[in-house]
């Protein structure tokens, strides 16, 4: 089965600034894919090239097993990072308009809009003008707009930014449900906790280059269980310890990265001499640590 998205060494330069540098990635059908990277890494440019808003200078974009052509856009839903709607239009009219642009009939777009609005608890607002809505509510409207035509590929640029926790959960639930029904989801975010919980695969972009790409579980496994999570009372000496590479200390909870080849048992013995240990666990590094590690190395 062909991958839903396949980028073949796409490259984009603006003047002398390389926005995307020969980036390749593959997104499996039915997976949730996280596009990560610091600000200005080229995530949005990559996404825009994927859906034909910008054209790559070099390289090719393949979608659903075919080279990019505009009819494919009918199968894609897109929530851009720059949120925007026509302020003076009524919410329902606006949704119908966007649905029809994606090939739905007026009646069908209307029916689906009403269903989704009910689902996301914004039914009371469909006859209001967009400008009367709060930011978070406008964001939900745009999310609905991206889903209306039941796309096979959903591209969400920073979908959770600006949402309160309740709405973020609502959005996450919809994403999980869509994944179960076989849709492919690509989203970019800074929030590593969500990526860890939601994504099957990731691509970490820095300075327009892919620095880490692949299956999230495999990536984490490749780092090995070199991280210690410890809960303690007392004052164990973590500074200048020859076993420890880096420390993230919260006072009575600490995350330690061991130096390559260091023995965790020896660390436990040292800690016992200085403090009461209530929990000591050897784990894989969190994505945040990997992110900081990789981006730090490249900086």
């Amino acid at each position: 089965m062909p991958d839903t998205v396949e980028l073949r060494a796409i490259h984009k330069t603006y003047d002398h600034f390389v926005a995307v540098d020969h980036l390749s990635l593959n997104i499996r059908e039915g997976s949730v894919y996280g596009l990560l990277g610091p600000n200005g890494a080229g995530k949005t440019t990559t996404i825009r090239m994927m859906i034909g808003i910008n054209m790559p200078d070099e390289g090719e974009v393949w979608l659903f097993g075919e080279k990019f052509h505009r009819q494919q856009l009918q199968r894609i839903g897109y929530l851009p990072e720059e949120r925007g709607l026509y302020k003076r239009m009524k919410v329902l009219d606006h949704l119908v308009f966007l649905g029809r642009l994606h090939g739905l009939s007026g009646a069908e777009a209307r029916k689906r809009s009403l269903n989704w609005c009910e689902r996301l608890q914004i039914s009371d607002w469909v006859q209001k003008k967009v400008e009367e809505l709060s930011k978070g509510m406008q964001q939900k409207i745009q999310f609905v707009a991206a889903l209306l035509h039941d796309p096979d590929l959903l591209i969400l640029d920073e979908p959770f930014s600006g949402l309160d926790p309740a709405n973020a959960v609502m959005l996450k639930d919809v994403m999980v449900e869509l994944k179960k029904s076989g849709k492919t989801i690509l989203f970019s975010t800074h929030r590593m906790d969500q990526v860890e919980r939601l994504c099957d695969s990731i691509c970490l972009i820095d300075h327009g280059r892919s620095v880490l790409e692949g299956d999230l579980k495999k990536i984490k496994a490749s780092y090995g269980k070199n991280t210690v999570q410890m809960q303690y009372e007392g004052d164990p000496p973590f500074d200048h310890n020859e076993l420890i590479q880096s420390v993230n200390n919260y006072g009575n909870y600490v995350e330690l990265r061991l130096k390559p080849g260091a023995d965790a048992q020896q660390l436990l013995r040292t800690a016992c001499e200085h403090a009461r240990i209530s929990r000591f666990e050897l784990v894989e590094p969190s994505l945040e640590e990997i992110f900081l590690d990789v981006v730090g190395q490249n900086a």
Partner: protein, 432 residues
């Protein structure tokens, strides 16, 4: 095509439904009607006021002749416009009450000046022998800005003196009347061997239509520009661009705004028609002179639409380069310059519609909406010229649409500063 149609539909419906459109569409006829009706109403009021004028002359005969002339002129000038609508009482009350004064001393002049200041009289005509010898007459009054009145007085003095001199040469009154009878002069345009509209009508109609063209192209071109800036600021474009191409978006928008403009004009024409139709039925006399040739209406329609598309495409490109209305004001001169230039050229072209200048300038697509239209009104040029001109305009518009949509595609996603010319060249490359 379907997408452009959807964009068009949204643009058109949203605009037609907006309060601004409804208010503007309804207020404009009210405004136009009041600019026409209020002055007419006011000048209708005027004859009720009698002007008290003193004629000061050494020779009482001359003064009397002028007085008679003035009074007769007045009844005459009232006669043609004496249609059913004008009350008969109007011509019965004389507009001037005239006194004759034969004292031409400076003291008398000072006294009359005081009388004017004290509003005892409205004005006086100074016709002393020395003034008449120099053929110089002075009318002194508190307000002398009513040119109609000045002309009336001048005509009265002039014809009274001419009549008097001719009479002294032994001509009878009847002979004098015949000699002085004005000649009715009219120039008439010949088209396909038949006589058509008169020269003055062609000029007036051309001028009015050129102004309509100019105002509407600018107003709606600017509306396109503003609508792009608004979309840029609301950040909606990225969503739209994920299903519509920049070209479709631009075309839909331009046609949508243009259709709104046409709708507005049709509503205005309908209102104007509804109000003026009864008048037209009852008195066909006045407007029959100024009948608009059918070919002119057709040409207006064609060149209005083509001109609008050409200019609004240019406005769209400018709109995608800027971020605010203020900036838009600053950059709109490249679009305004050619149209103003064309208006300046329209007078020489109208005077010599077949000159080299007229031919070459009317072939420039940016001038054509005005200049080719004016040429068609003045003297229909050969068909091949009109077709060539329209083809050139269509080609230019198409090319400009391509260029504009490239600028648009890059510009609408850039929220920074306005590009310089070299940067603009790079934009065109990025969009490739």
């Amino acid at each position: 095509m379907h997408n452009a149609w959807l964009v068009f539909q949204r643009e058109y419906l949203e605009r037609i439904r907006s309060k601004a459109f409804i208010i503007m569409t309804l207020l404009m006829p009210v405004f136009m009607a009041s600019t026409i009706l209020i002055p007419a109403f006011l000048s209708d009021m005027k004859p009720g006021v009698t002007r008290r004028i003193v004629l000061v002359a050494n020779n009482a005969d001359i003064a009397d002749a002028i007085k008679q002339q003035l009074l007769s002129q007045q009844t005459k000038s009232d006669t043609p416009s004496q249609s059913k609508s004008v009350p008969a009482s109007k011509s019965a009350s004389p507009r001037y009450s005239i006194e004759i004064d034969t004292n031409t001393t400076d003291a008398e002049r000072d006294k009359l000046r005081r009388d004017v200041s004290d509003s005892k009289i409205d004005g006086f005509l100074w016709l002393s022998d020395s003034n008449l010898a120099n053929r110089k007459v002075v009318y002194s009054a508190k307000d002398v800005t009513d040119f109609g009145e000045s002309i009336e007085l001048r005509n009265a003095v002039q014809s009274a003196l001419v009549k008097r001199q001719l009479g002294q040469k032994g001509m009878s009154d009847a002979e004098i009347e015949t000699v002085l009878k004005p000649i009715d002069f009219d120039s008439v345009r010949i088209e396909k061997g038949k006589e058509g509209a008169s020269g003055i009508a062609v000029f007036l109609v051309s001028f009015t239509m050129v102004m309509l063209l100019y105002v509407n192209v600018l107003v709606y071109g600017f509306a396109v520009m503003r609508s792009i800036i608004e979309e840029k600021n609301s950040r909606i474009l990225e969503v739209l661009l994920s299903s519509v191409t920049a070209k479709q978006l631009l075309a839909g928008k331009i046609i949508g705004v243009g259709a709104v403009g046409l709708t507005q004009i049709f509503i205005w024409l309908a209102i104007a028609g509804a109000f003026s139709l009864p008048g037209l039925m009852s008195s066909r006399s006045m407007l029959s002179n100024v009948h608009i040739p059918m070919v002119g209406v057709l040409a207006f329609g064609i060149f209005f639409i083509l001109g609008y598309f050409l200019y609004s495409t240019m406005y769209a490109a400018l709109g995608s380069m800027v971020n605010s209305d203020q900036e838009a004001q600053q950059v709109q001169w490249p679009a305004m310059l050619p149209i103003i230039f064309a208006i300046v050229l329209s007078t020489p072209v109208l005077q010599h519609p077949n000159s080299q200048l007229a031919f070459w300038t009317s072939m420039v697509p940016f001038f054509a909406p005005i200049l080719m239209f004016v040429r068609i009104m003045a003297e229909t040029p050969p068909m091949w010229q009109i077709i060539l001109c329209i083809a050139l305009m269509l080609l230019t518009t198409w090319g400009l649409l391509g260029l504009s949509s490239r600028i648009y595609r890059v510009g609408i996603l850039m929220y920074g500063k306005r590009p310089t010319l070299p940067e603009l060249r790079k934009w065109l490359r990025y969009a490739g």
